[in-house]
Symmetry: none
Subunit: 407 residues, 2 copies
């Protein structure tokens, strides 16, 4: 048996529903996608419930499930994955948060959740808060893109069950973190102390003094949200015997990959938005196949169009993806297994993730040829009717890596 390499392409939020503006077709069904259709014709096709029928998956829980890590066991919030996406080191048991650098007045009323979309100086601001110690707990802070940042709490007796400090709107006072369970009292108390301390330190910081002098809003507080506990995740290579890499633009998915030991291949064209360089992503993925057994590619753009509720835009995005898939099919070595699917549906009629299943195709030189077109309606005629957690088992089978059970 020839052991094969594989590429798993996740079109983020690509699943959709019938849209009146597209003659009641889905964007994927409406779009002209000759390359996706041509590979579908040589593939096993079907539908996948990212988690289970009707369950509205997040990108994080879905990616975890597809990679074979049960989100019901390992997921308490997105904080740890965001922090890992910013290359922070996490130990199992750490509590992590997504944060914004924000602007508040002296009464801690939020003036701007994004501190005037601050672009520069956040590294210095994060540095001013990093490694703060309150009682026996250490706080680590790292800046992200623009106003974004992550916070990690490390110490004994911590819990992820605390409410957000970020009030998610302006004109109101910041919230006190509240313990959602008895065991989270210490975590909430220390987190609130840390947030107040962040205000005292940041409001006096030279970066903010300079911003104020320039008439800009100061980034004078750090507002955490999305608490989660860093789980123990079995190493991907140990679990599957495959060395994994990923080409993804969004820090959340990058963080999930990092936490399981799938190595991010970073390049400047992977923006995680509409203008991402899709052909470039596949160039990097195919290059990575030289030294890795498995490459995950995530393309975020369809999800953005879904959230923006722009069906025509989503059609254009799918056609751009189809062009990039055509490029992929030209450059990919023979006998690499290709799986194309989505992590969830983000229907333009809804503007958010839904629990509708997503199309999937699984291609290898010898897979049963049963597909016609790559979309929700056509793929439903194929053989696959699976859940996200079954993808890796099927991938191991098609790459001829699965162990036989019995004789």
């Amino acid at each position: 048996m020839q052991i094969r390499k594989s590429i798993l392409v996740i079109l983020d939020g690509a699943g959709d529903r019938a849209n009146e503006k597209l003659a009641y077709k889905t964007p994927l069904e409406y779009a002209s996608t000759p390359n996706l259709d041509s590979i579908a014709k040589k593939s096993m096709v079907g539908l996948m419930d990212p988690i289970a029928p009707g369950i509205r998956a997040g990108s994080d829980t879905s990616h975890l499930n597809i990679l074979g890590y049960d989100p019901y066991e390992v997921y308490t919030g997105r904080g740890p994955f965001e922090a890992a996406g910013l290359d922070m080191d996490l130990k199992p048991g750490d509590i992590a948060f997504r944060c914004n650098f924000s602007t508040v007045d002296e009464n801690l009323v939020v003036l701007d959740r994004r501190a005037g979309r601050i672009k520069e100086g956040t590294r210095e601001l994060a540095e001013a808060l990093n490694r703060m110690k309150i009682e026996d707990v250490e706080f680590f802070v790292k800046e992200g893109v623009e106003h974004r940042a992550a916070l990690v709490m490390r110490g004994p007796g911590l819990s992820p069950f605390v409410s957000d400090v970020d009030p998610h709107e302006k004109g109101v006072k910041i919230h006190e973190a509240k313990p959602l369970k008895e065991v989270a009292q210490k975590t909430a108390r220390l987190l609130n102390l840390f947030v107040k301390k962040s205000y005292e330190i940041l409001k006096e910081h030279p970066v903010n003094k300079r911003r104020e002098a320039e008439g800009k809003l100061p980034a004078n507080i750090l507002l955490p949200r999305g608490a989660g506990m860093a789980p123990h995740l079995e190493n991907f290579q140990k679990k599957y015997g495959m060395k994994g890499a990923c080409v993804v633009g969004t820090p959340l998915i990058r963080g999930i990959c990092k936490m399981v030991g799938i190595e991010p291949i970073d390049f400047s064209g992977a923006t995680g938005s509409y203008d991402t360089d899709m052909r470039g992503k596949f160039d990097h993925a195919v290059k990575a196949l030289r030294s890795y057994d498995f490459v995950l590619v995530n393309i975020k753009a369809p999800d953005i169009a879904g959230h923006d509720m722009l069906p025509q835009k989503k059609v254009v995005v799918m056609e751009k993806i189809d062009d990039a898939v055509g490029h992929l099919l030209e450059i990919i070595p023979e006998d690499v297994v290709v799986i194309i699917t989505a992590d969830h549906s983000t229907p333009c009629t809804v503007g958010d993730h839904t629990g509708d299943p997503v199309p999937i195709l699984i291609y290898a030189a010898d897979t049963r040829r049963e597909g016609e077109e790559f979309n929700e309606i056509s793929c439903a005629k194929g053989s696959l009717r699976i859940r996200g957690k079954e993808v890796m088992r099927i991938l191991l089978n098609i790459t001829n890596r699965a162990e036989k059970f019995g004789a």
Copy 2:
């Protein structure tokens, strides 16, 4: 409701993948199978994952699962089923092995794993080892076809977690059985003593003296492999209220049937290879339906063609099976339920079992008529998308034997 009888036909390894040499069709798709297609048109059809999506099933684990015995609970190795297939009596807790009568030199280096494919005298050789007792453990030996045999260890404190003595190649010394878990130390130690003893007894045996005088290799040692513990398996008739029989050529499947109380109908034409008398198998199955409620028929030939990686041969095998199915449809009494499926895929592109699902058809006089052709692609369009463990439940339903749950 009329209670029905049923026949379950398992085409061993019949599932396959797209094959370049067959214009990218599967052997079953490429073959001309008018009889299978005609019954498919009157049947419910679909795909079955013998165990679960992507899981590479053995014939043993798959047959157990299809018959309703969870292999994850009852299967530790094929030894017990091979031993049962040779009509050895097994008690739950016995440890059993497949064995070869082999030829070794005085340093226990293997000269021929099959002792010159010995054909005669193995009964006497087995008899010379049978019922040996070492400490508080008794050893039972029974000869099989040619060089094959089975060994059963019975006594307190035994474990199936021991490695093979058979080195699986010639020119090397036999292996010491090693305990794979702490609890298996006694089993490994006594097994090694038994194997050495087998050499001392067999090398002096008159059968071997005669073979040596004739210039043949002596069968001077017994080499065990494939340890497994005999499980407790609920009796088939008690479990389902059906008296079961089987017509199978391979000892492994015959052994599974024996262990659950499905009675083997032996006849000389069931060879378990290409030349098996397929029409004869169905003659015997239909005759058995007079006194049994359920008859299992296993046809091994497709699996052999898959292992041999011969797609055209597999096409010929499928067409021969189709001819035999035509015969079956002529002779089978009205109102017998017919299920035709496979225990796993053995793609000619791979040469071993894979985790690809297999086609299934379920026929009764009144089943929904949804099929077109009996193959992997066409059946995927039908209603069934099931796992092996669900077959018996569906069979009980279609034979009008299932109990109603509720009012």
